[in-house]
Amino acid sequence: MLFYDNDTGKKDASLLQCKFCHKPKYHPINVARRKKKPIPVKSMFYLPLIPRLQRLFASMQIAPHMTWHHEKRREGRLCHPSDGEAWKHFDRKHPTYAADPRNVRLGLCSDGFNPYIQASSLPYSCWPVIVTPYNLPFELCMSKPYMFLTCLIPRPSNPKACIDVFLEPLIDDLKKLWSGLLTYDISKRQNFIMRSNLMWTINDFPAYGMLSSWGTHGKLACPHCMEHHKSFTLNYGRKTCWFDSHRRFLPI
């Protein structure tokens, strides 16, 4: 669990033990010996997302681009996520939200990587979580200055399903963003209520299992087929196999 307070009534920052497994928050030896601040067993970094989204509207260079997805009509062509069916479906479901094109659509990406690949041979997996706005034109969208590193989850091992624990501050911020925050738009010289939603997550297959909560191992690994899978274990290879299953999606 994460020892932190949020605005919606969670008061865990003062606890000294995990609520579920009762493990201590700080290193037990250090608490007794040290006069200074005790050392936590594990810590993560959260870099707040909201001020960075508001800053996009404070820059003369970026603010006019934030409505690009709405202004440039690209009939019959697919060159931006806003041309896709998922985006249009979301707009139909939330017409009041879609009415203001300044509302920020976000995507979330995450993957494990090892920062010390040359310095140490020990397995170490660090999980950055990156949030990126989709409002921008496609030449700016998902480019380096607009990829916001929000969570950094350092730990020696893969967080597996427990990644949710570390995502909690981000989800709290996203909930706040959905209800709306007062922001100054410099291109129109006015204040407005900025809302924002998370469109989807993008990752590799093991991370898919961690974020979507459908485990991606074993015979039930396919998150689309679910229990209608046709996998079997190879007799000699000893691996799960989906031989010929792709044919189910093709016309006979």
Binding site: F90, L174, T201, N235
Partner: protein
């Protein structure tokens, strides 16, 4: 040959009905759910379902191009080019082939001990 149609495509609301009774990691700690790996593979209720609009999203999770295309290409390329230690065209694969395919010319021949 596989003649069955594709599995049903679940709408976001149908998925929500399946996961809404599962426990969240942040509420219960990491616990194994009954029947895991047998008739379902749910590990938890994902924290993204806390977002009020998540059940209206058509595409909730995507696989990125770099991971799918590159790994796919690497695997095929290593088999076709017969890269030492990387190819999956080994004796086990040839033995399995005899069980599931009708490709007599590719099967492992037992009497000579060679492919």
């Amino acid at each position: 040959m596989e003649t069955d149609g594709p599995p049903p495509r679940l709408t976001p609301m149908q998925v929500w009905r399946r996961v809404k009774d599962l426990l969240k990691i942040t509420e219960s700690g990491a616990k194994r759910i009954d029947g895991f790996g047998e008739w379902h593979n749910w590990t938890k209720r994902s924290i993204f379902w806390d977002l009020p609009y998540w059940k209206h999203n058509l595409l909730r999770h995507n696989l990125d191009v770099m991971h799918t295309k590159k790994s796919f290409f690497d695997n095929i390329f290593n088999i076709v080019m017969n890269v030492v230690c990387k190819t999956k065209d080994d004796d086990k694969a040839r033995k399995d082939l005899a069980l599931y395919c009708r490709r007599r010319d590719l099967e492992l021949k037992a009497q000579t001990g060679r492919w």
